[in-house]
């Protein structure tokens, strides 16, 4: 499972997550979703620090975050 999973059909390409990501791993992709938006995408899952900022700011609840833990 990805650490940063962005639901492309929900994303409206607002760019807010990108603007606040501290490790700069989010970009706008060049795909178009069904509603005509180019969704955000994560360029490097491993760099995600799970700070949660992108999920906190995403107005479309497009981002879910997970992290692998040793059990």
């Amino acid at each position: 499972m990805e650490r940063v999973s962005i639901d492309e059909e929900r994303c409206k390409s607002c760019g807010l997550c990108i603007s606040i990501c501290p490790v700069k791993i989010l970009i706008i992709s060049d795909r178009l979703n069904a509603r005509g938006f180019r969704p955000a995408q994560c360029t490097d899952q491993d760099k995600c620090t799970s700070c949660g900022s992108c999920a906190l700011i995403c107005p479309d609840i497009a981002i879910e975050l997970h992290r692998e833990v040793k059990v």
Partner: protein, 252 residues
């Protein structure tokens, strides 16, 4: 030793999983999400009734898994009062824009606050009328151009803006009144904790609570979402300072 995925953030359960009609970057979505998270966290989904405004959030009821009603423009506090009075154990909140709450609905919000009965108000201050295309709101800043203050708001032509939180905090009724901002992760975290207090003020039967959220309207501000966040910090906050304006004992 196996590896497992720990959830850092997942879509709230009281969120109805639809794509909203809001414009890209509009912080209505953020405020919605916080409501859903708190309803989840506080276990309120079964006893919540949301009262939705006429404004961009008019379809808000579509996005949540709890009962909802759609109020007439500005009258959400009256409708919420009618609902709360009949079922005092339910959790009743209104969600209102600044045209809805501070313009046409001014009498209803002042009286709901003055009564002090436990209902919760999420108040979205985005400085204009989003749904109808960016007209001046009571919260529009001096100098700000809107479609009905085309030369920029002036006291002479348009009157002064209104600080709702400060004004209502003067009343004896309210238990909790705060102003928060949705412009950044840190402020969104603070917003959520203010909203939690507001929810709590009702759940614990203490009294009326209101959280004014500085919000954006990139479409009508004619700014990008990122620029809009910037504007909230640079232009809006100086006139609308963040903070708690009333916290009566027992609210936490």
């Amino acid at each position: 030793m196996a590896e497992q995925m720990k959830v850092i953030y997942e879509r709230p359960r009281s969120w109805a999983n639809k794509v909203t009609h809001y414009c890209p970057g509009c912080t209505h979505g953020v405020a919605h999400r916080l409501v859903a998270e708190l309803v989840d966290e506080m276990g309120l989904v079964d006893k919540t009734i949301g009262v939705w405004p006429v404004g961009c959030a008019v379809l808000g009821y579509d996005y949540f898994n709890f009962d909802s009603v759609e109020a007439a423009h500005g009258r959400a506090p009256a409708m919420a009062t009618g609902i709360k009075v009949t079922n005092p154990d339910n959790f009743v909140f209104t969600y209102q824009g600044d045209g809805d709450l501070a313009s046409i609905g001014m009498a209803e919000i002042v009286h709901a606050a003055a009564r002090g009965w436990p209902i919760t108000v999420i108040f979205i201050n985005n400085g204009n009328y989003g749904m109808t295309g960016g007209q001046m709101a009571p919260t529009t800043l001096l100098g700000q151009k809107t479609t009905t203050s085309p030369l920029g708001r002036t006291p002479q032509a348009n009157g002064f803006p209104i600080r709702v939180a400060e004004m209502l905090a003067q009343l004896d009724g309210p238990a909790y009144i705060a102003r928060v901002s949705l412009d950044s992760p840190v402020n969104i975290r603070k917003a959520k904790s203010a909203m939690r207090k507001a929810f709590n003020a009702q759940v614990r039967g203490i009294g009326f609570s209101l959280v004014e959220c500085l919000s954006t309207c990139p479409t009508n501000w004619k700014l990008t979402p990122v620029e809009s966040m910037e504007r909230v910090r640079k232009e809006v906050m100086p006139y609308f300072p963040l903070g708690e304006f009333k916290v009566v004992e027992g609210v936490l």
